[in-house]
Amino acid sequence: MNRRDFFKIVGATGAAAATAGCQGAGEHILPLVVPNEQLVPGVASWFATVCRECPAGCGVLARNRDGRVVKLEGNPDHPVNAGALCIRGQAALQGLYHPDRFAGPRVRAGGGLTPATWENAQKLVVERLAALRGAGKGRAVALVTQLEQGSLGVLADRWTQALGARPHVTLEPFAYEAIRAASRITFGRDAIPYYALEEAQVVVSFGADFVETWLSTVGYTRAFARMHAFRDGRAGTFIHVEPRQSLTASNADEWVRNAPGTEGMVALAVLRLMLEEGLGDRRFADAVARVDVKQVAERSGVAEATLRHLARAFGHARPGLAIGGGVAVSGTNATETQVAINLLNAAAGNVGRTVRFGPDSAYGRVTPYAEVAQLVQAMQRGEIEVLLLGQGVNPVHALPAGLGFAEAARRVGLVVSLATQPDETTALAHVILPDTHWLEAWGDYAPREGVTGLLQPTMSPVRDARPLGDVLLAVGRAVLGSEEGKGPLPWASFEQYLKAAWEPVVRGQWAAALRQGGVWRDVAPAAVQATAGPLAAGAAALEGDAGGFALLAYPSLRFYDGRGASRAWLQEAPDTMTQAVWDAWVEVPAEAAARLGVATGDVVRVSSPHGALELPAYVSATLHPQAVAIPLGHRYAPYHVPRYVAAAPTAMSPAALLGPATDAASGGAAWLGVRVTLARTGARRPLAILQATHDQDHRELAQHVDLRAAREQALRGRAGRHETISMYADQVYPGYHWGLAIDVDACVGCQACVVACQAENNVAVTGKASAAYGRQLHWIRIERWAEGPAAHPTNTFLPMLCQHCEVAPCEPVCPVFAAYRTEEGLNGQVYNRCVGTRYCGNNCPYHVRRFNWFQYEFPAPLEVQLNPDVTVRQLGIMEKCTMCIQRIIAGKDHARDAKRTVRDGDILTACQQTCPTRAITFGNLTDDTSAVTGLRHSPRAYTVLEELGTRPGVTYLKKVVREHA
C-alpha cells in the first residue's frame, strides 16, 4: 500500500466524519474541542471530489490538513484527467478562501447589499415565489445555473416543474453548439463526440484550443501528449489552423495562419484535394464538387501548396483526426465549418476510430443559446419576475453585450444570486443566498457519458453558505407549502437526495464510490452514418466597419469565461504566449501597430458597433494582419481596491464589443462576429510582461533535435557527449541524489505547474507593479523561446526552476552558509540563516532565486490555505525551488516505515504531479533503475548553460521537431 492509497482510505473513511462536521457549520472555522478520531494532527486526509471550475469535470483529491484543505491534486483514478489538473483547477482553492466571499446572505437595501439572516433572505424569495404561484404566474420564474450534468441538474428541473416555472436554463458561454449542430447534420446525432486524440497519427485542428480551454483541457492535453510526444514512441503530427498563434498553435508542428473565419473553406478545400489525390472516401466528392481551391487559397490566405500538403498529411494518416473549436467554430458560419470538419473525418474514415459517439460530452446538454436569448427577451418584456442565478454564472460579464442581459436584468422584479463572490451580476441582484464552494458541497457531475464523478465536502464551509440544492428544497417546499418528506420535493437536504438517487446505482458501495471519486464504465461507441449534401464554403459574416479588424475574442487559459479572474494566483501566472500578468490587452498585428504608431503598452481604443474598450496594446508579429485578438475573462484585480465592477475604471472583456449575432444553423453565440476599429488614445498602461525577450540570443537554453536524428539516436545512442571536467573531486552521494528530468518536447506551456508550486510552497503573490519590475516570486516559470521568422516562429516552452547544481554558483558566495549543498543533491536554503545579501541571486546564471522584497501578505482567510509543511518566508530573505523538500521528507519517512528505500512514484513534486503531459520526472539519480536516471542518460538529454560547468541536477530533454509536418 503506498502513501496515496493510504490517504485515500483515510479520506474515504473520513468522509463520514466530514459530513458530520459540516452540519450547521458556522461562519468561522473552529478549532476542534472534541477531536475527531479520524483526524490525526499533522497527517493529511485526502478527499476525492470533482473540480467545478469549468464543465470539464476533472477528478480532484483535496488534501485536508487539520480540517483545512491546503492543496488540490488530480485524482489519478479519474478517467478524464488521470491525476493532472490545469491551472484553474489548481487555483480553485483561492475561490474557496477568497477574501471577498460573501460571509452570509445579503439583501439589497437602498443602494447596497446588507447582511441578512438566512430566514429573512429566503423569506423574501419565498414570498415572491408564492405570490406568483398563487397568481398562476409560475412562468415568471426562471432558474439559471451553470452546467449541472448530474443530480443537481435533475433536482433543478424537478424544482422548476414543481413550481411551474420556466424550464431550468444552464448557461455556459462556450457551449460548442456548432459541434452539436454539425453532428446532427452530418451524423444525425445531437451530441458532442469524444475525440480520441491519443490514437491519431495526424491531428488537424481548426482553431480547437485544447491546451487552453477546448472541451476538456486536461484530458485532451494528456491525449495530445500521448499522440505527439516523442517519448511515447508515437511522435504523431499536429497541424493547427488559426489566424492567431495561440498557445495551442505554438504546440503544433505546423501552424497555418488563415484569414479569420475561413476555416470552413480551408477544410473543404483540403477535403477536395484529398479526394483528388485519391486519399479518401469518394462518396464525399459531390459535397466538395463546387469548391474552388484557388479561390479558397486566395480568400483564406493559405497557399494552395499548403492546402495540398495538409490534404496529403491528413489523407495518409492511419488514423487522422480533424477537430474544430475556438474562434473557428464560433462565427456566423460555425456550423458549416464544423460540418466541413466532420466530412474530413468521415472521408478519411476516422469516424468510429478517432471520432467516437457514445462517450458524448456533457457540453451537449447545455441549454441552447437561443433559449438563453429567449429568456433575456422575456426579461426585457418584463415577463420575468423572479430570476435565480446559480454560482459560476456571471452573464453580465460573460455574455456578449449585444444580448443586453444587464439591461434586461434591471427589469426583473427580484434577482436572486447564489454566487459565492461579488461580481458584475451580483451587482444587479436583490438577494444573495451564497452557495457553498464545490469543495464544501455534495454532488455529482458527469463530464461525459459513462463517467460520473462524485463530489463530497472536503472541509466545513469557510463562510456561512448553503448549497444550492438545499436552498432549492427549502424554498420549494416553503412555496408549495409542503412538509419535509412529502410533496414533489420531500428530501431534507440535497445530500439526502443525492444519496437516495445513487443508492440504486451503488447498492451499498457508496463509500467505495466516494473513495474512487466517482463511477465509471466503458461506453460502447455508437455507430453513425455520415451524410452530406453539396456544401458551399463561405467566410464568417462580420458586422462593422469593412476596413476594420476581425475581433478574435477567445476564452482565456487562465480565467476561462471570467470565473477564474478573482484568483490572484491566476492573475499572477503569466499568459504563456505574451508572458503578461495581471492586465488585459489587445493583441494588435505588427503592421497595424506600425501604421497607428502604437507600441506594446500604449492604450488603444477598440470600437465596434456595439461598444468600445480601452486596452493596452500588445504588438504581435504573428497575428493575422486583418485581426485583433482580446482574451475573454479578464476582470478586476483581485483584492485590490477598487475591486468590484461598479468601481472598475473600464471593462476589460471583449464581450462588451460583441453584438447579438449568432450562428444561424446552431443558434450559438457568434464570438467571431464583429469588426473593430483601432484608435490611439495617447495614454500608456504598460503591461507587466515577465519575459524580457523571446530570443535566446544563441544561448541554446531550449534545444531541439530533428525527429529523424532523435529516432536514430534513440536507436544507437548519441555520439560525442562530453562530460564537463573539473579540478575538484565529484560529489559523493551516500544515499539519494534527487534529480528532475524535464521533457521539453512534452511541455505545452499550460502553466499548471506554476500555480501548483505556488499552492504547495506558500509562494506569495506580489501584484502587477512588482511583477512588472522583476519581483515576482514564482519558483518555477515557463519560458517561451521563439525561433525562426518573427511572423511565423517556432516556439519552445522551457520550464525553468532551481537547477540544483552540483557546482552551484550560489553556494560559495553566501557569507553565512544559508545556501548550501545537501548530501542528497539539493541546493538547500536556510531561511533563518539568510541575511539577504542577494549575492546568490546575482551569481545564479539561471536567475531562479527569488527575494522577499517586502513582507508579502495573505489576506484573510487565504492564510488558511498555507501549507503547514512549508515555511512562510519573511521579508529580506532569499527563496527558491526546494524540489518540494517537504514531500521528499514525507516520502522518505514513508519508505522507512515500509523498511525499504524510496522508489519511483513515492515522491512526486507538486509541478510533476499536476503536469497534464507528464513532462516532469522526479527521482533518485543514484538508483540506476529509476526513471529519472534513464532520462538523464537519454540521447536527448542536455543541461541548460552546460558550458558554465554548474552540473545541474535538472536534466532537460530536447524538443523533437519535425522537418516538415
Binding site: A692, R699, G774, F817, C834, N842, M878
Partner: protein, 448 residues
C-alpha cells in the same frame, strides 16, 4: 587667483596658521554644517523606511539584486585608498610633498571607510542579522563561509579601518600635544587624553618615528589588498562583466585615482578658506595632478584591456554583455565614465592646468563622478544583461536608494567638517620638518 606667499613660513607661522583653523567657527561653517546634517537626516529617514517596509523600497530587482548601495560602497572604499597611499607609501618613499596634505587625506580615509562600512548594512535584506557574517563563537558552531568574498570583505575592511585609525592617531600625537598646550576647557581634556602624555622628549621622538614607520609599513600592503579583496566580490562571481582576473589591479588603480581626486576636492577649499597657500603650494598641486594623470592613464589601459579580453576571449556572454553596455540603455553612463576618467584628466599634460586650482577642482569632481559611474557600470549594466535572457531587465533608482546614497555623502562631509574644526588638518610636525629650523638670527626667514 590667490596670492601665493613667496616666502617660507617660520615655525611660529605654522603654529599660528594651523591653530587658526581651529578657531571657533563662523556662521558660514554652521550653515554648511546644517545643510549637511539636514541631508543626512533625510538619508536616515529613507533608511528607516527601508528597514521598516523592506529592501523593496530601493529600486533593486531581478536581475539587479545589487545596485546603488554596492556601487557607493565600492566608491567610498576606493576614496579611502588615497589617504593610506599618501600617508604610508609616500612616507616610506620619502616623498616630501605629502606633508601638507597627508593629514586631511588620512582623515578622509577613515571617514570614507566609515561611510563605506554602512553600506553592507544598508544593503542587507535583514540587516539586523548582519552579525552572522562575523566569526563569533556560538553554541551551534555556526561559522561564516570563508569561501565567500563577502566574508573576506568583512576582514579586509575591518582591518583597514583599524590600521588606518591607529596610524592616524599615532601621527596626530605630537600635534595634539601642541593643541593641548594651546587650548583650555573641554578641548584641553580631550587633547590631553589623545596626546598620550607627549612631552616632546628625544626618547619619545625616537619611539614615535619608529612606530610611525612601522605602521606605515603595515598599512602599505593594505593599499593593495583591501581594494583587491573588494574587487573579488565581483571577480569571484560568474556574472559576465565581473568574472575577470583584471579586477584587482584595476580596482586598486581606480581607487587611488578617485582618492586623489577626493583629496583635491577637500584640500583646495581648505587652502582657500583658511589661507594655507604657504603650506599647500603649487608644487603640491602639481604632484597631485601628475598622480591623477598617471592613474588615469593606467585606468585607460585597464579599460582597453577589459574590452580587449571580452572581444578576444570569444566568450559569447562576455561579448554580448559588452556590446549591450556600450550601445544600450546604460550606454550614456559608460561613455560618461570614459569621458570623466580617461579624457578629462588629460588636461594635466598642460603644465599650467596642473597648478590651476579651478581646473584641478573641476577635473577632480569629474573624476569622482566618473569613478562612481565606473562602479555603477560594473554592477548595474553587467547584471542587466547576464547569462539568462528571460530576466534581462533595467534597474530604475527609487527615492529611497537615491536618498540614502546622497545621505552617505552628507555623512562623510559631516565627519570631515567636524574634523577640520577639532583636529589640525595640517601636520604641524611634518610641515615644520620641511622648514629650516628656527635660528636666533631673526633675519633668516623673519619677514615676508
Amino acid at each position: 587667483m590667490s596670492d601665493q606667499p613667496t616666502g617660507t613660513p617660520t615655525f611660529a607661522d605654522v603654529n599660528r596658521d594651523v591653530l587658526r583653523t581651529l578657531e571657533p567657527p563662523g556662521h558660514r561653517y554652521f550653515a554648511w554644517m546644517s545643510v549637511v546634517a539636514l541631508i543626512l537626516a533625510g538619508g536616515i529617514l529613507f533608511w528607516t523606511g527601508q528597514v521598516w517596509w523592506g529592501i523593496g523600497m530601493a529600486g533593486k530587482r531581478v536581475p539587479q539584486m545589487w545596485a546603488l548601495y554596492i556601487t557607493t560602497f565600492v566608491f567610498w572604499i576606493g576614496i579611502g585608498h588615497a589617504g593610506t597611499l599618501i600617508s604610508a607609501v609616500l612616507y616610506l618613499f620619502r616623498a616630501r610633498w605629502r606633508t601638507s596634505i597627508y593629514r586631511a587625506a588620512e582623515a578622509m580615509t577613515i571617514f570614507a571607510v566609515l561611510t563605506a562600512g554602512l553600506f553592507p548594512l544598508i544593503h542587507a535584506g535583514r540587516m539586523w542579522f548582519a552579525y552572522f557574517l562575523l566569526p563569533y563563537p556560538n553554541q551551534r558552531y555556526l561559522w561564516p563561509n570563508f569561501r565567500s568574498p563577502l566574508v573576506w570583505d568583512v576582514f579586509a575592511i575591518s582591518t583597514y579601518l583599524s590600521i588606518s585609525t591607529v596610524f592616524f592617531i599615532v601621527g596626530l600625537v605630537p600635534d595634539i600635544a601642541a593643541l593641548r598646550d594651546a587650548s583650555t576647557g573641554w578641548r584641553r581634556r580631550i587633547y590631553a587624553l589623545l596626546a598620550l602624555g607627549w612631552e616632546g622628549s628625544d626618547n619619545q621622538w625616537r619611539h614615535y618615528r619608529r612606530a610611525y614607520g612601522l605602521f606605515a609599513a603595515l598599512a602599505t600592503p593594505l593599499v593593495l589588498s583591501v581594494h583587491s579583496v573588494v574587487s573579488w566580490d565581483f571577480a569571484m562571481a560568474l556574472v559576465p562583466g565581473w568574472h575577470s582576473t583584471l579586477f584587482a589591479p584595476f580596482f586598486v588603480d581606480g581607487a587611488i585615482f578617485s582618492g586623489f581626486a577626493m583629496v583635491a576636492v577637500l584640500v583646495l577649499p581648505m587652502r582657500h578658506f583658511f589661507g594655507l597657500h604657504a603650506y599647500i603650494r603649487d608644487k603640491h598641486l602639481d604632484a597631485m595632478s601628475k598622480l591623477i594623470l598617471v592613474t588615469s592613464l593606467v585606468l585607460t589601459y585597464f579599460y582597453l584591456s577589459e574590452i580587449f579580453t571580452a572581444l578576444y576571449s570569444g566568450d559569447h556572454f562576455e561579448k554580448a554583455s559588452l556590446f549591450w553596455k556600450v550601445t544600450r540603455t546604460y550606454a550614456w553612463a559608460l561613455w560618461l565614465m570614459y569621458f570623466c576618467n580617461c579624457i578629462a584628466p588629460l588636461i594635466f599634460f598642460v603644465k599650467k592646468a596642473r597648478t590651476h586650482p579651478v581646473v584641478i577642482y573641476v577635473v577632480s569632481i569629474l573624476v569622482l563622478i566618473g569613478m562612481w559611474f565606473e562602479r555603477f557600470n560594473i554592477i548595474v549594466p553587467s547584471l542587466a544583461h547576464g547569462f539568462y535572457p528571460y530576466t534581462w531587465g533595467i534597474f530604475v533608482p527609487s527615492p529611497t536608494d537615491t536618498g540614502i546614497v546622497i545621505g552617505s555623502f552628507a555623512w562623510f562631509f559631516l565627519l570631515f567638517l567636524g574634523f577640520i574644526k577639532l583636529m589640525p588638518s595640517l601636520s604641524i610636525v611634518e610641515v615644520k620638518e620641511t622648514l629650516p629650523p628656527p635660528m636666533r638670527d631673526t633675519r633668516h626667514g623673519a619677514h615676508h
